[in-house]
């Protein structure tokens, strides 16, 4: 932007469209309100004052998938629930992101071997952007997952989205 520097009046700044749109998106990642198991308790802790997910602009937990950008799959996903999750994901407007929180959502967790109704990873149902490790993950871990997601959004482009590696 060297050429255009200092060429305009005050209160005008020049930037790339990508940067501006990504900046808007990553500072207002609104998650959807739903928790499936014990990880949801940690997610609630993230929403409360001590950890305060609002610092990252992601504190507006929406009660409808149509208003949400982010789906935090916090807990054990069983087959009965997996179909509902797919349906909720389909109802979210693009761009939409998914965080798989904890061992169960990542790969079945403690139910991997003998859990006859547990889906062995929510990535078998919806594409996942960020995996957060832990059982359950501490609130700081979820915040780091959110920051990773923000880094990922920062790298996306309006013209051409990078291919997902699901």
């Amino acid at each position: 932007m060297g050429l255009l520097e200092q060429q305009f009046e005050e209160n005008v700044l020049t930037t790339k469209v990508d940067w501006l749109i990504n900046w808007c998106r990553l500072q207002s990642v609104w998650p959807m309100t739903f928790g499936l198991a014990c990880c949801a308790i940690e997610m609630m802790a993230v929403g409360c004052a001590h950890h305060d997910i609002d610092r990252f602009g992601a504190g507006a937990f929406r009660a409808s998938p149509r208003q949400a950008d982010l789906m935090i799959v916090a807990g054990t996903v069983n087959f009965k629930m997996a179909e509902r999750i797919k349906r909720l994901y389909d109802q979210m407007p693009s761009p939409k992101y998914v965080i798989a929180m904890g061992a169960c959502a990542t790969g079945g967790g403690p139910y991997y071997k003998y859990g006859y109704t547990v889906v062995k990873g929510v990535d078998r149902v919806v594409p996942v952007d960020v995996y957060v490790a832990g059982c359950p993950p501490r609130p700081e871990a979820l915040l780091e997952g959110l920051m990773k997601l923000q880094e990922k959004i920062q790298q996306s482009s309006v013209i051409r989205r990078p291919a997902r590696t699901a």
Binding site: F79, K80, Y116, T117, V119, K120, R124
Partner: protein, 172 residues
């Protein structure tokens, strides 16, 4: 009333289907291999007579087991030809408890429903039905309760084979 008292009362009333009793005992010091038996005392009752047995337990003025705490089943082993159905009873009036067990052949796992006697048995029998494949004849609403309605197999039987996929989602 303690277990012996309950047993004597049931014998005096000629309880239908009462087969025998099993009580915990200490290990025999002379026999080193004998470990005794821990746990609670229980009664063996014939599965086909269970509702009538529960009805007598409920209506007898000295027993008054008016509360069905639990009705569940166990699969003891792959080699065992029988399932065990376990019922826990509680008398709120006299504050005594009773455990009742029935054996049920796996090949023909069918027994009369206890819902006409205890309405609390409805959900318990639905769960037993889907998890162990027991048919409770006369149950008013024999749908699945936890599993999806189109689930194949009975997961808590020891010889259960895990499915490969469910509605396109891989289970492996």
């Amino acid at each position: 009333m303690d277990f012996r008292g309950i047993l004597d009362r049931l014998k005096a009333r000629q309880a239908p289907g009462l087969v025998g009793s099993d009580e915990p005992r200490a290990a025999d010091p002379a026999d080193k291999k004998d470990k005794g038996r821990a746990g609670d005392p229980f009664l063996w009752v014939e599965a086909q007579a269970l509702p009538r047995f529960l009805e007598l337990c409920r209506d007898d003025e000295r027993l008054r087991f008016e509360c069905l705490i639990d009705l569940t089943a166990t699969d003891p082993s792959k080699d065992d030809p029988n399932l065990h159905v376990v019922v826990q009873l509680l008398s709120l009036a006299f504050r005594h408890r009773l455990m009742v067990k029935c054996t049920l052949p796996k090949a023909a796992a069918s027994m009369p429903s206890s819902v006409p006697v205890h309405r609390a048995a409805q959900w318990h029998e639905r769960e037993c039905g889907e998890m162990f494949g027991i048919t409770f004849t006369g149950h008013p609403d024999p749908r699945h309760i936890l599993l999806p309605e189109d689930w194949i197999g009975t997961p808590l039987r020891k010889d259960y084979v895990f499915p490969d996929e469910y509605h396109g989602i891989s289970c492996k």
